[in-house]
Symmetry: none
Subunit: 258 residues, 2 copies
């Protein structure tokens, strides 16, 4: 193992449950010599990756990590992470794939991949998506803060088509179903002839920060095709969430109820 690897592996010893450790304990857990361990810790401390408590002499993770994490987050939100997944999904399904980002309790389309075929669903970047009548909206509500859900279903729900669910109770039922299924389904709720599936992308707090959706003409959407697309979109959203946060999806998901 490289020296660098050893140093970083020391950082992995810290967790929510054991946020501080003494030198001897760190050396024991890591399986390194005490002298080695200390030299590594000093190197890490010089760059703010760990810091030492002045009194207890114990070590904990440092503020330098926060700084780097913020740099990453600042310039690396959804877009770049999600793009390859959108391309892959678009290629695999030959349907329109779009990514929406949550902004102040609304969903904003930020990225769209259209398949190279004539009859397809068109989605425009910059469009706001109604929460109660799109697959993206349902997926978002399934992992949104309670107050967002309340707000979204409080005011009168517009009927975009004859299929649109306008009863808050009925929408809420769909949201529940989405949570259980892992992806949402919307049959012509926003536009006639369009059938969509979507899944939420979770942020580090466990709440949805965006959604990934596949929209197809209803004529090409058998029950089996819908399920297939749903699973694909859920898997992609899950991977995006994990790459974005550096944590397992279940850990993220559990954070909310915990």
């Amino acid at each position: 193992m490289s020296t660098v690897g050893k140093a970083i592996s020391l950082l992995d010893l810290f967790s929510i449950d054991t946020p501080e450790l003494g030198l001897t304990e760190i050396a024991r857990r890591a399986g390194f010599d005490k002298a080695t361990t200390r030299r590594l810790l000093v190197s890490l401390a010089r760059h703010g990756f760990v810091e030492q408590d002045g009194e207890t002499r114990h070590y904990r993770l440092g503020a330098g990590l926060t700084r780097l994490a913020r740099i990453r987050e600042a310039r690396f939100p959804l877009l770049q992470t999600a793009l390859p997944y959108l391309r892959e999904l678009a290629a695999a399904t030959s349907e329109t794939v779009h990514l929406a980002e949550a902004v102040n309790g609304s969903l904003l389309t930020v990225l769209v991949e259209h398949p190279a075929r004539a009859n397809r669903v068109n989605v425009n970047v910059g469009e706001y998506l109604p929460l109660h009548s799109t697959a993206s909206g349902l997926a978002y509500l399934a992992h949104a803060r309670p107050e967002v859900v309340k707000e979204a279903l409080g005011s009168p729900l517009a009927a975009y088509t004859s299929h649109t669910l306008t009863e808050p109770g009925a929408v809420l039922k769909e949201v529940e179903a989405t949570r259980g299924r892992g992806y949402s389904v919307m049959d012509q709720g926003f536009e006639d002839g369009v059938f969509s599936v979507a899944a939420a992308i979770l942020g580090s707090g466990g709440y949805a920060i965006g959604t990934l959706a596949v929209a197809a003409p209803v004529v090409r959407t058998s029950k089996a095709a819908a399920a297939e697309r749903g699973k694909a979109v859920a898997a992609a959203a899950r991977e995006i969430s994990e790459r974005l946060n550096g944590e397992g999806f279940n850990a993220l998901r559990g954070r909310v109820s915990a």
Copy 2:
């Protein structure tokens, strides 16, 4: 320099402005051999500290950092605690508010709230702040360990603008004034046209662990406005300190001299 230090120094090459870099460029900027650089990057990548774009082959900061930063935040929730105060200050003043954290006797910017207006001061997350020429620096020095102050004012002081105080004695006088006033003031000491006020956030030992600052264009800063912002920033820093430590501000403050 230790190998670990070299590896971490590579991470410091990334910033908001340059979030991605190629191998040759990284090697050039770091001053290491290309082979060495690559080996370090591979080590870092194995732990998710950097990741490589599949297409461009460029490197960027990785998601593993986010995970560790979250663990630290759980133990030391400066960001979470401070965020609402930053928002409130930014809204109240309509100016740029930023939070810096102390790392090894340096101050680094970890959180910034920009107001929604055209003419504003821009501060980037990840920037280090010189101690003698920024309001944040003065506020920090006013509550830093004596050896930190000595170190900071020992080496020659750089003049960033024609306003920068480069005499250690003059800076020390400002630090004293800051302690009496409760907040620091810096008139274009770091950048022409920028006027800042700042206050220290204290840790449980009574020393500064970070600073909160409001930076505004000098054209919008009357004497009255400066005083108003100063009081606001001091009040916010005080509340953050109290919430963070679960102790009264005066108790924290008294700890040092005691």
